[in-house]
Point group: C2
Amino acid sequence: MDHSGKRQAGTLGGAAGKPSASDDTRSTKGGQTAARVCKAALHLFARHGYAAVSMRQIASEVGVQPGALYNHFATKQDILKALMLEHMGALLQAWEACRGTVPEGTDLLEVFVRFHIRYHLSRSEEVFISYMELRNLEPENFAAVERLRQIYEAILTGILEDGMSQGRYRIEEPRVATRAIIAMLTGIPAWYRETGSLTAGRIETIYLDMVRGSLGAAPAFTAGESG
Amino acid sequence: MDHSGKRQAGTLGGAAGKPSASDDTRSTKGGQTAARVCKAALHLFARHGYAAVSMRQIASEVGVQPGALYNHFATKQDILKALMLEHMGALLQAWEACRGTVPEGTDLLEVFVRFHIRYHLSRSEEVFISYMELRNLEPENFAAVERLRQIYEAILTGILEDGMSQGRYRIEEPRVATRAIIAMLTGIPAWYRETGSLTAGRIETIYLDMVRGSLGAAPAFTAGESG
DNA sequence: ATTGAAAATGAATGATCGTTCATTTATTTT
DNA sequence: AAAATAAATGAACGATCATTCATTTTCAAT
């Protein structure tokens, strides 16, 4: 326990310090290694699980010696933490962006369900890791991820409560309904394959109908695509 | 790769060889170690994950030296395999028993939903392991577990299709609906706590209503307990 | 009591783990 | 071009891993 200062970049995503001048194609191979580490770890963790993946495997996938990883992340745990926090942050940010583009009066339940399915299908590895590897997070990191997860849940709970107060849904326990719906939707990437007979749009419609039904809402009348 | 013959008992559960005479309290400590190994592994795998648990930890929990484990299981993988196959087998067996006691004409959907919730709440560690550790199973063992899982799914699909053909449900894709419902129900143990404000019976009722709604069934009219 | 098998021990196997570090190489800043 | 900083190397650290095995202990059957 002395991974104090050093100089890990780690957070990836965007220029951290001072890349002032040229922004794109940062010379030959500037600080992109951290991002490649994340990407390699993402795939390996998703496939074999955090505990079953070694730093040597990650390094090998990146094409670098194991010791080099520690120029970017202080510990293996920090890689997992970065992946999960980044995913949850991106999810919340993507929802805010999605909601921002929605016209007044739109059925937010439909927007949420479609958004959730679409986002989770497009980021299935991040999603998979983010709730398979929760128990491998140290308590502090777990708490941080859990906080974000609860914020996301609260979004749907809010939508349900709004609908209840307008008499559009018949819900006994909005918190329970929230968990039921999210579990139902989040299960999709576990079996859905693009090569299958169902398009993503049809999946959205089917699940939207089921969600509406489970809330006692008036059926049908989905906006976009149809079966 | 030479764990050929040896003499592992392993399968636990019931008297294997020839305990003919006395059946209960098998002398002092007959062949119960295998069962204690399973129980210890169950708790440890559920808490920390298969890959993160060492044979030494399991042995320590059993109160035995690591080498002694190999009198009962050829490999660590065999412990996981035993846990998962045993769980899936017990689940299917419990369903058959449950269905056997049900009078003619009963709503099988309600029976199934209540059974699933009740069983999964009472065996949350087995359930947790059985779909968290699927990827840690060697291909052959994975296939065996997956086969049982599909049999279980087919039970619900059959119930849905029966209801469809009788015009009681409005379902677009019974296979999809099956996965949606099972994901919804299986998510319960992840958050439900006996110490919470909701009784298990009330959970059953809430979820049953949601499931019925999601299938476009006529609402309410649940038989047993009510909110 | 004696025999034989099953179970447990205790020590060892080679492999692999996360991590460290002095040093070299590459890149950026001056 | 020189100095400074960042990144990567290659080798090593102690610890722990799953598993093996000769030996001893425990137990059930004779």
